[in-house]
């Protein structure tokens, strides 16, 4: 199985790559979004800022949209999840728009949200395979889907409840960092790859 990680050019991909390769997948780093979709699984990692990442994605936006519509399994992590939405208050540029809605800054509590938060009301098969009870977050922005039926787990920061996991068919977005959430998080990534292989 070939897993391609789209690299926006900022931050730590090391732990994510180790996690993805755990069960033997071939992991390749791609800086060209149109090349990144030529794989069995596309991963949008969670480091950097929205504007910068959207600019890197822009040349291949149509190709990535087409590939996702075609059923390419995709895992978006933190910023990668936010790129699956239309747009963000964090920066300019267009997201993939797979989930209609906007990314907005967290209000209340300490921002950035840094640390382990509980995963609530989970009803996604991935959470059955890998019961993540608390997960590691490092984010200042959260997704606001127009239609909450895509949300399959929630977390809360101060008084703000926000989507922890969204899904549309074979595309899953998680606001937390599974690759930094100790063994339960690593299990979740492995479960996603197993699901993608089916």
């Amino acid at each position: 199985m070939k897993v391609s990680v789209f690299d926006y050019g900022a931050g730590n991909l090391h732990s994510l790559i180790k996690t993805l390769a755990r069960d033997g997948a071939r992991v390749e780093i791609e800086t060209d979004p149109s090349a990144a979709v030529r794989a069995d699984v596309l991963v949008l990692p969670g480091v950097g800022a929205f504007g910068h990442a959207a600019a890197r994605l822009a040349p291949g936006l149509a190709d990535v949209r087409a590939a996702l519509a075609d059923g390419l399994p995709c895992l978006g992590i933190c910023l990668g999840m936010q790129l699956l939405f239309d747009a963000s208050d964090e920066g300019e540029g267009e997201g993939l728009g797979l989930f209609p809605g906007r990314v907005k800054r967290l209000e209340g509590g300490r921002v950035p949200q840094i640390g382990w938060n509980t995963i609530e009301d989970g009803d996604d098969p991935l959470l059955d395979a890998a019961p993540v009870a608390t997960a590691y977050y490092a984010n200042s922005y959260v997704c606001h889907p127009d239609d909450a039926s895509c949300v399959h787990a929630w977390s809360a920061h101060d008084a703000t409840r926000f989507p922890a996991l969204v899904r549309a068919q074979r595309t899953v977005g998680v606001q937390f960092h599974p690759e930094k959430s100790s063994m339960p998080g690593v299990e979740l990534v492995c479960a996603f790859l197993r699901e993608a292989a089916r």
Partner: protein, 279 residues
């Protein structure tokens, strides 16, 4: 609900974890990768590597330690010490760190925080503040017209100055004002160390923590003075800390992370249960 974090700090020199009192009598504690994975299994919410290698040629060794750790430990990793540019931060992040902590470099060149936050996001930029309590209020001892420093001033609320170089050099900055400023510049988290308490096991300076945590909106990590589980509770409850860092009490196995978390949970503070961390 967001948990209060227990952060384990490992001082790394020449690829090994060492521990000494105030940087003297360094004692080899073990291999950083082994210790990081052990602490992950014991329930540490985060690991901090503090690079105390003085020589610049030691940088490569540190990056290799980060790389090896990130291959085996799956909890957040912060690296502090010796990072002085955006490119150096990029190297540390690419090696597998999630955050970089700036101390002396931020005092020398505050705009570095902004440049790094713009490139990597403020969630990756930690500013470490080493603070020493002043016997008088900040205006009286930090310059200006100190001539008329009066009794009224010494009666004022406590104040702290920023120090660098392991506490040897005063930076001429008020610690609370500096905290507010570095957050404006882009720091997404503050690691606040009381240099009066560091290594003394006499408890955290909760006045200092409260003075800072009540003035900023970013998370604050308490450091310096951990002795027992009750100190962790006080740092959060009285100091308003979001995370608590300790080193020697865990290295010397005086207390386990589990016992600290138990005490915090008993005090009504949200913690990530330890058993979840074990595969």
């Amino acid at each position: 609900m967001l948990s209060r974090r227990i952060v384990v700090c490992l001082d790394v020199q020449g690829g090994r974890v060492v521990k000494g009192e105030q940087f003297i009598h360094l004692r080899d504690v073990g291999d950083p990768v082994d210790l990081a994975t052990r602490y992950e299994a014991e329930g540490a919410d985060e690991i901090v590597f503090l690079d105390i290698t003085a020589a610049p040629e030691g940088r490569g060794t540190m990056l290799e330690v980060v790389r090896r750790t990130a291959s085996r430990a799956f909890v957040p990793l912060t690296v502090g010490g010796g990072v002085r540019s955006v490119d150096e931060m990029r190297d540390v992040l690419r090696a597998g760190a999630d955050k970089v902590s700036f101390n002396t470099a931020a005092v020398a060149r505050p705009e570095l925080l902004t440049a790094c936050a713009e490139r990597f996001g403020s969630q990756a930029v930690v500013c470490a503040i080493d603070a020493r309590r002043l016997s008088t209020a900040p205006d009286a001892s930090l310059g200006a017209a100190a001539g008329a420093a009066t009794e009224a001033v010494t009666q004022a609320a406590p104040a702290w100055e920023v120090v660098t170089h392991g506490g040897r050099r005063p930076a001429g900055l008020d610690a609370v004002m500096w905290a507010v400023r570095v957050v404006q510049l882009g720091a997404g988290e503050l690691l606040v160390t009381s240099m009066d308490r560091d290594g003394t096991r006499s408890g955290f300076d909760t006045d200092l923590l409260h003075a800072i945590s009540s003035r900023v909106r970013v998370p604050v990590i308490a450091s310096g003075g951990a002795s027992g589980p009750e100190d962790f509770v006080a740092a959060v409850r009285d100091g308003g800390a979001d995370a608590v860092l300790a080193a020697s009490i865990f290295h010397r196995r005086m207390h386990s992370i589990g016992s600290v978390k138990q005490a915090m949970a008993a005090a009504g503070l949200p913690v990530r249960p330890v058993e979840e961390a074990v595969a």
